[in-house]
């Protein structure tokens, strides 16, 4: 696909606060001593160290044919929620990030060894690190869009959110050529390796007024 940008060997970052929240930590309620926090952080860092983070980004024009049909890259997606999230946009970006198969193997080994405490920390840290990669992709896109007087829409949208069917993953895997990054879909439209995510985000032109955006989102 023309314009496809492939990112390999990405730096994996640990969003520690988000990892704690994913693990059920509640501020001012949960008990967490300094020593426990340090040990938990070290474990989470070890998990993130094992990720082989890669990703892909593709910018595409799209059109809305009706209030719940988005057409992009030769695909047609039925989703009122997606169409709403793209209100005020003329283009969109598809993106994906994966933590690599090696991480899943390590996690499976922990589970098989019954190391559940480690496993839950690794699982949460990796999920957050892969999500954080999409945040960085969004930053990158905005860094470039700003020179065109454009910005991304406020929120990303992923297959499985709202009324956007998980089967849309099939199109995203194909358009983003994710198989070359080792990402595949099983018959249930679940991405493997496990720590893989895809998303769609709209691109707004800076010359559109808020009224126009509101009008389009109706």
């Amino acid at each position: 696909m023309k314009g496809l940008r492939v990112l390999t060997s990405l730096r994996a970052e640990l969003p520690f606060k988000e990892t704690l929240i994913r693990l059920g930590y509640v501020k001012q309620k949960s008990l967490l001593s300094a020593g426990e926090e340090e040990a938990l952080r070290a474990e989470a860092e070890a998990a993130v160290d094992c990720l082989d983070l890669k990703g892909a980004i593709l910018r595409l024009p799209f059109s809305l044919s009706g209030p719940a049909t988005v057409e992009a890259g030769g695909c047609r997606w039925q989703s009122r929620d997606l169409a709403r999230s793209l209100a005020g946009c003329r283009e969109l970006c598809l993106m994906a990030a994966t933590g690599g198969a090696g991480f899943s193997e390590q996690l499976d080994r922990l589970l098989a060894a019954g190391e559940m405490k480690k496993a839950v920390i690794w699982n949460a840290a990796a999920s957050e690190a892969v999500d954080a990669a999409l945040d960085r992709f969004t930053l990158l896109i905005n860094r470039e869009l700003v020179k065109e007087g454009k910005r991304t829409a406020p929120h990303r949208f992923s297959p499985g959110f709202g009324d956007l069917d998980l089967w849309v993953q099939k199109d995203l895997v194909r358009l983003l050529n994710l198989e070359t990054l080792g990402v595949r879909l099983n018959d249930s439209c679940i991405l493997t390796p496990e720590k893989s995510v895809t998303a769609i985000i709209g691109i707004r032109s800076g010359i559109m007024s808020n009224e126009e955006i509101r009008e389009e989102s109706k």
Partner: protein, 827 residues
Amino acid sequence: MKNKKEILDRLKKGALLLDGAMGTELQKQGLPGGVSPELWALEHPQVLSAIQRSYREAGSQGVYTCTFGANPVKLGDYHREDVEGVNRDLARISRQALGETILLGGDISSTGRFVEPFGDLPFEEAAALFRRQARGLWEGGVDFFVIETQIDIQEARAALLGVKEIGDPFTLVTMTFEKDGRTLNGTTPEAALITLQSLGADAVGINCSTGPEEMLALIRRMAPLARVPLAAKPNAGMPRLEGGRTVFPMGPEEFGRFAPEFIRAGVSLFGGCCGTTPEHIRRARENLQSAGSWGSGEAAFLRKDRPKVFALSSAREALVSLPGSPLTIIGERINPTGKKALQEELKAGKTALVSRMAREQRDAGAGMLDINAGMPGINEGETLLRIIRVLSASSSLPLCVDSDNPETVEQAIRLYPGRALVNSLSGEPGKLERLLPALAKYGSAFILLPLTPGGIPETAPERMAVVREIFNRAQGLGYREEDILVDGLVMTVSSLPNAPVQTLETLKLAREAGFGAVLGLSNVSFGLPAREWINGAFLAMACAAGLSFAIANPAGEILGPVKAASDLLLGRDPRGGAFLKRFAGLPAKAPEASGLGASGGGDPEGGITEAILNGEKESLLQELGRALEGGRKPRDLLEGIMIPAILRVGDLFDQKKFFLPQLMGSAEAMQEGFAFLEPLLKSPEPGDGESPSLRRPPKVVLATVEGDIHDIGKNIVALLFRNYGFQVIDLGKDVPGERIAEAALKHRPDLVGLSALMTTTMPRIPETAARLKSLGLGAPVLAGGAAVTREWAESFGAYYAADGIQAVRRAQELLAAAGKTEEGPAS
């Protein structure tokens, strides 16, 4: 085209004011969305000329061409293939508009693709793309080149080499950093500066990124390491969206006030990026004039008090060694000699072991990594490149390229996305002539082995004579003393008793002459027993003689402590921070608990409860052992202490005082404790009666349904069920309904737990439930998973649990209702 020296001389006299934004100015003049700004400017030369003239009139002494995106990839999106022509013509329009007195910078930016090892664009292909653009700009008559808004250090390197390979023009490279002070892929400003200035950039800096205030902080980090002029082109503040428009909030006056601060911070080239206008530049000029800040005295690259710094970089981090810096260990493990597993791995083209060795060495204290792929049966060059690709991503430590083959070394340092150290260069005839120019081209630091064709000089002064001879040649190619580590040459003390003294003397003389000093330690003890002690003593002596780098296995039991102690004693660890960090925890301190312990102290009951609450497996086993020795019955320990403790854990989890890792820690400890007691519980004790521990434990079959691979939640549930005395038959993940039915028929469970994470796999739960029902199995089905709700589960007669503790409680309720057990945990 101005001579590079002319521009450098100009910068030595004082700062140069550059232009402001082009893209946002073109938009104001009618550049529509969805078109190439470069091609539009080509069609509207009068608009481009007017913008550039307005910058000249505002005071810009250097103005960029409008060729930001005029590379083959981006022009290709608009079906334009005459890259050279587009660049040449745009440069000529600018020259005509600006005249000869303004320095015209040929602007090159990103292709938008990522370059290997950070993307799929091969490095050589990237360099070739940039060469094409640079040729066009050169033909168009630019005075210098600008490679700007780079977020990928490897693309910046490819562009710089591309430009340098068409001639030797003055080239400025500016990177873009995010709010966290790193590029998108994690490069720090220090690492970018070290990499680019050693690769031949004539000026390095930052553009776009942030507003001036945030950028100043990054410039100040770069200044002490700058050997070349620094540049800064900040945005007019951080962009924000107002009324659907992108707005840069900083006005000309505020922006202009920052200009003198940048010059005082050491910047030699200052301008603006997104959102800045000719008015911003005018204000900057006025402020510079009124502050008298045009002089050269403050330029970072001219500062006389700059210390001699030995600097290396990886793609992400800088390694800076000053005369008083701690010893840096160069991890030597990634070398196949004598390592069968690594040999096999490299032969098979794999690198997982390499990554693991890198991590282990880093954790053991290595500051950089030596990489060597010299072994029979493999292509050394290809293998070394593969190692570089892998470690550039998985490790932040700089690499030391270790090969005897000059061609292999050159390939490696061309690809390496940082400033490498090369191991090594000697006076060996032929090799020096071949390797030294390559090292200079890529700006690599190197280890200088003071060998001659006749062998190893015996005394330190003789070795230093060889050092000086090689250094004189390197100096002619731009090297300074601080780019070189002199190897003291370690000989075996068992055969040459005086050799270690000469080695130490060589280190001392090398340091006095301004070089860094390095040793490969272990050879000194070859052939002797207790080698670690000899190596350790020698390391301490070498540190005192000025050793700055040691090639060694950082995991050595003696090496790490000796290094830490030597750094402390020699004042290289001034407040003892590193030493204390390493040793303050000895002897091992008990982990700090959450403050939830029961009585603690000598009471085994309190100790058992505390160990379960704190998830301390070893303490639990110790406490159980102590209690058994004290005559407590195993069943009392289980039912009277452990079960109440795990119930308390469940309560704490319900109250959100505990969260998942603590719940799992306690559950794992409980499991260990139960396994410890289990053999003792098998034989009934007098008076056991109807003790719950002798009843048949309730059985549960658990599975993550077909098509779903996410089973960590199910594993959590399994562990908790076991904790609460259930017999768990865990079928794993992606389990077809018929297998679940077979297992249910075989085991006749009291409950079947099914999980699914995704909406596409959820339907397998009711399908499986129906299958179980059709077989006449009366076991209730408990459903769980991220998208599962109570309503949905109840719609087909299943029960629902939101988490592991709820699952256990729901199961207990169901069993109690069926009269199969009491409510509450059993064992």
